[in-house]
């Protein structure tokens, strides 16, 4: 999960992220999604090579979408959409199908593109939630870096008091980035985060990132616990947390939809982070999520280094898939 730290091993690499001229965002995304592209793209290139649009082509398209984790329902909806477009625009050649598919995906994903605005409140409290091993702590590391580079002060609350050494993991991170980590030995996650929020208020910190322990939505007592955390934060600052981010592993299949539903029902999730998009996983489950629970996707993680967390841009995401 934390492999990007291996690049920090050498002393010079510690400040590397600032020094290295950052490649443009599109390029980085393309790099990160290269596997996705080579998986999806190659198949699509063959499909869009020209020829008549017939049932075989649709079936091929269905296969591709299904193997990208788009899910049965969303795949069928997308196919309907594309068929409609083909009919309306009287498309006849498979090469025109590409833009139809692009449009269909865009209309599904564009509403999810809503960047996170952290300037509205001070301190702006962000709570992270997710299943075990989704990448919450890594995302906190990357978010800290992102906000710091925007010139904001950040405080981390180590709310994962359950997993062994979760606190140490965040503290190691905080040291590297010169960020204060509020933590306590064992104890109640709500109390730790409450302390952190109050300390941020006193110190005039801009952003508080509150980590929570990973939990599966079926563990109802743990879901109850995280609701308590939310209530306690609301007591420290009414209206907080201002953003509840659900971290999803791009490797997850259709269960991601269940996760979104469960966490949204419990907490009212305001944004999603899609992590680990640099593997062979295609993250097609976004489409399924967009269809059932359209929650804005705030960030996507496309690599292992600290600055590989980027705002989600639907057009670039779709574009990168097809190049």
């Amino acid at each position: 999960m934390f492999d990007f730290f291996k690049k920090d091993k050498t002393p010079s690499a510690a400040e590397a992220p600032e020094k290295v001229a950052p490649a443009t965002w599109t390029e980085r995304l393309k790099q990160g999604l290269s596997r996705t592209r080579s998986q999806l793209g190659n198949q699509l290139a063959g499909l869009f090579g020209g020829g008549k649009i017939d049932d075989d082509v649709y079936e091929e398209l269905e296969t591709i979408l299904l193997t990208s984790d788009v899910g049965v329902a969303a795949t069928q909806a997308l196919l309907e959409d594309i068929k409609g477009r083909v009919q309306r625009q009287a498309l006849s050649d498979t090469s025109q199908l590409k833009s139809a598919l692009k449009d269909a995906l865009m209309s599904l994903l564009a509403p999810l593109e809503q960047p996170l605005q952290t300037n509205t409140k001070q301190p702006y409290i962000i709570m992270l939630a997710g299943v075990n091993g989704a990448g919450k702590t890594t995302t906190i590391g990357k978010l800290t870096h992102l906000f710091q580079s925007e010139g904001k002060s950040v405080l981390i609350a180590a709310g994962d008091t359950f997993r062994a050494a979760a606190r140490e993991q965040l503290q190691a991170w905080g040291e590297r980035n010169n960020v204060h980590v509020v933590a306590s030995e064992g104890g109640d996650p709500a109390a730790v985060i409450f302390d952190a929020v109050n300390s941020a208020k006193a110190k005039g910190i801009d952003i508080v990132l509150a980590d929570t322990a990973g939990r599966l939505p079926t563990q109802l007592n743990l879901m109850e616990e995280i609701r308590k955390v939310q209530r306690v934060i609301d007591k420290a600052i009414p209206g907080a947390p201002h953003e509840i981010l659900l971290v999803l592993d791009a490797n997850t299949g259709q269960n991601a939809v269940m996760q979104v539903k469960a966490f949204d029902d419990a907490l009212g999730v305001t944004g999603l982070v899609l992590s680990k998009l640099d593997g062979t996983a295609k993250g097609g489950v976004i489409a399924a999520i967009a269809q059932t629970r359209p929650i804005p996707i705030r960030f996507i993680g496309v690599g292992e280094s600290i600055d590989d967390l980027r705002p989600f841009k639907a057009s670039e995401f779709v574009e990168a898939l097809f190049e």
Partner: protein, 451 residues
Amino acid sequence: MLENLSGRLQGVIKTLRGQARLTEDNIADAMREVRMALLEADVALPVVKDFIAQVKERAQGKEVLASLTPGQAVIEVVHQELTKLMGAENVGLNLAAVPPAVILMAGLQGSGKTTTSAKLAKLLKEQKKKVLLVSADIYRPAAIEQLKTLANSLEIDFFDSSNTQKPEDIARDVLVYAKRFFYDVLIFDTAGRLGIDEAMMAEIKALHQQLNPIETLFVVDAMQGQDAINTARAFGETLPLTGIVLTKLDGDSRGGAALSVRHVTGKPIKFIGVSEKVDGLEPFHPERMASRVLGMGDVLSLIEQAQKSVDLEEAKKLADKVKSGKNFDLEDFKAQMVQMRKMGGVGALMDKLPAQMSSGMAGKMNNEDGDKAMRRIEGIINSMTALERRKPEIIKATRKRRIAAGSGVQVQDVNRLLNQFEETQKMMKMFSKGGMGKMMRAMQGKFPGLR
């Protein structure tokens, strides 16, 4: 677990059962449903295609058509094929090596390697093995710390490594150490890595050569999607895997990844992770799992679990009391609840019961509510004095108020518990005197449908 896959397949099975005659058409319909169910359960598409082809072929074969109940026969075919897909039988760990027997853990980031390592160590320790844990995850901050903490809490020996060392140096040192102190088993945890990360894959390959492990376990998140097939292939090509551990099966994922991974690597699933707690690792039984998927229930696992967690002495004492119908007091009532809880609560029980039974019960109570109610009853009993527990009849209004306040419930709840207990007691007396028949007669009025 897996309930969505089960639910869908059960729907298919229900319609098939009703068919007097199987035609190509209704088989095709059923297979379409099965295909959708498997895809939604995240089983990889190529695997689904193979599976459907197999089942279809056999469903149209002689054995099914000649059967008197063709619908039933198709279900049998699906069950058999599902079992085959998950592996024929449970395969345990192979530790037949010159000690130390090395177990190497590999997998993606966040799949649960470290937790599984600790669980595995606990399991082996219970089998009287001398186990040593070591972590070569020098990349993720505090990963070594995590395993160390877990090892300490389980009282399992831990070989200290630090993230300034190279994994190969850790491997070399730990081998020497394990040999010198005569460890039976060495569990070697590694960093999570992507199948496409060539440098990292080369590292684990080198580690494998150096350690020459007798078991190389691939740890897979049960929630993984279609990509599981690619990941499994990448790891399977780099490392000679010997088995698979499927983690996080306690979530509501449909566990389709299990089928894909098994299909691609051809290696057996040896364990499944079913809880965050350190004893949440169970041997994998394909046949039982297939039954569970099809909603036939996993009664065997249930019995095993009961044997493991129920205190035999206590159970016997309780049974005697029930038989004699005497002296059954609130203390015993509570003991019953505790036994039930030890077996994983109502939820875990329901999970393993055949679908017909559990769905019937589910109508009456929800798993969580059941567990909650049980905890509440325990709480109420805990607020009673020893005398009250032995002689509940002395509990009158004042005592009730005190008990209610002590356990944080309403007086009505205490009343309800006392009534419930009285009923149970009556039932038991009847049972001991007049046997089953009398009890059934007494229950006539109370349960609709019982005659």
